[in-house]
């Protein structure tokens, strides 16, 4: 339900100078203060009264949040203030992580992507979060600053439920780090919306694949699914199908079918659970076929 009133409920805008100050303030005001970067999710929820806050804590000026850099040893670092558009047009992202750029570009509209951030997308923990799956199967690790200092949290263990993560009061996610991608990596992001671009997904599938002697098939595939479970997740079941045998169209079909057993979709305004279950199979097959075609060129 959209509240057409332009105003926000009464709240204070807080701009801490240091990460320590931010974590302390957030911990002291647990439940009524939230880190604020692009605001594209928070504002809608605040206007609708789903989210009630006394303080928006602007983290955009804090150390490390404006970093967007690639290191040939460490990989890519994306700070919490870095917008979707900044990621999508960065030459190192386009060169080494083109699938992340593709996922980021699928979010809403150009002007919204000038505010929306990758870290915000992750922390909002929506089952439909467009960039979460790709970050997850790229083995993303979050750098979290809390009251007790800095810690690393893997995306594979970050999400608990829709909108809920392992973050504690006082935590500020400073950046996400993506390691160097495996050699020969190709991928794709398939998103089904009610219209072709700009919508939230009914179902979305991110697939990555690369050659590796460690797998009996000679290839490893990573498959992340969105909007078909309480949180975006990696389908190990479908990946397992593809690891032990020679890759064929039949095996891809079997792997796509296996995604249907790993999902627990709901009925909502965007689509029924039954439709989602069918479409996750179709989209996975389409994505795997595309990735396999690229790999076997």
């Amino acid at each position: 339900m959209i509240n057409p009133h332009p105003g926000l409920p009464e709240l204070q805008y807080v701009k801490p100078a240091t990460l320590q100050e931010a974590s302390k303030f957030l911990a002291d005001n647990a439940g009524v203060a939230k880190p604020y970067s692009g605001g594209t999710d928070s504002f809608v929820r605040l206007r609708d009264g789903i989210l009630k806050l006394d303080y928006l804590v602007d983290i955009k000026g804090l150390e490390g949040t404006k970093e967007l850099s690639f290191d040939p040893q460490k990989g890519l670092t994306i700070g919490a203030a870095i917008t979707m558009n900044q990621v999508a047009r960065h030459p190192d992202v386009l060169k080494h992580y083109p699938n992340l750029a593709e996922a980021a570009e699928s979010v809403a509209s150009y002007q919204l992507r000038n505010r929306a951030t990758i870290i915000g997308n992750i922390c909002n923990a929506s089952p439909a979060g467009d960039t979460i799956g790709t970050c997850m199967i790229l083995d993303g690790v979050l750098k979290v600053h809390g009251v007790d200092g800095v810690r690393a949290v893997s995306l594979s263990s970050f999400f608990l439920a829709p909108g809920r993560t392992v973050l504690k009061p006082g935590d500020v996610v400073v950046a996400v780090q993506l390691p160097i991608p495996p050699k020969g990596l190709v991928g794709t992001y398939k998103k089904l919306g009610r219209n072709r671009i700009g919508d939230l997904s009914i179902v979305a599938v991110a697939v990555l694949g690369y050659p590796t002697p460690e797998s009996a098939s000679g290839y490893r595939f990573r498959i992340a699914l969105a909007s078909v479970a309480p949180v975006p997740f990696e389908s190990f079941k479908a990946e397992g199908v593809l690891s032990g045998n020679k890759i064929t169209a039949e095996l891809i079909d079997e792997a796509a079918g296996a995604t249907m057993d790993s999902v627990t979709p709901i009925d909502d305004v965007r689509g029924s659970a039954r439709y989602r279950k069918q479409m996750v199979k179709n989209l996975t097959r389409e994505a795997l076929t595309e990735v396999w075609t690229k790999l076997s060129k």
């Binding site: 959209i2 509240n3 332009p6 206007r47 809403a108 150009y110 002007q111 000038n114 671009i197």
Partner: protein, 153 residues
């Protein structure tokens, strides 16, 4: 609630404004600076009627806090015409018949202005992608796309 005093540039003029801390950039533009070209549509970042340029890039002004705009450079639809002369895009949207009720036009012009700045020769599909976040319920978009193509030439 305590007010916050911010200084920013709006359409090349330096403005100092006292803003409530929960005021959006959209509200400040309309209610404090009386620049009513920028519209409030959905207040959810969906319709794009409130699109303005912030430091050269289009944003939904309903999704930005005025309090965080210290030092920002804002351009609204009122800032597109220079010395009483409409911008090329403003001329072509009239010529192409891309304005009907006019509610989406200010945001549409801002998005299209930003597009032509980063991509002076966009394809049809690039134009349509750039205005995905600007909803028009009158024109069916064809004449708006025509206007942007005419301005690109």
């Amino acid at each position: 609630m305590t007010l916050k005093t911010i200084t920013l540039t709006v359409n090349d003029l330096v403005e100092t404004v006292d803003v409530p801390q929960n005021m959006t950039l959209l509200q400040m533009i309309r209610e404090k600076l009386s620049l009513t070209g920028t519209k409030n549509g959905c207040a959810a970042g969906e319709c794009g009627a409130c699109t303005v340029l912030m430091n050269g890039e289009p944003v939904n002004s309903c999704m930005v806090l005025a309090a965080e705009c210290e030092g920002a450079n804002i351009v609204t639809v009122e800032g597109l015409a220079k010395a009483g002369k409409l911008s090329t895009l403003q001329d072509t949207i009239i010529e192409a018949g891309g304005v009907q009720c006019g509610f989406c036009t200010p945001g549409m012009l801002i998005s299209a202005t930003a597009l032509l700045k980063r991509n002076p020769n966009p394809t049809d599909s690039e134009i349509r992608s750039a205005i995905v976040g600007n909803l028009c319920r009158c024109t069916g978009y064809v004449r708006i796309v025509d206007a942007i193509k005419m301005a690109a030439k």
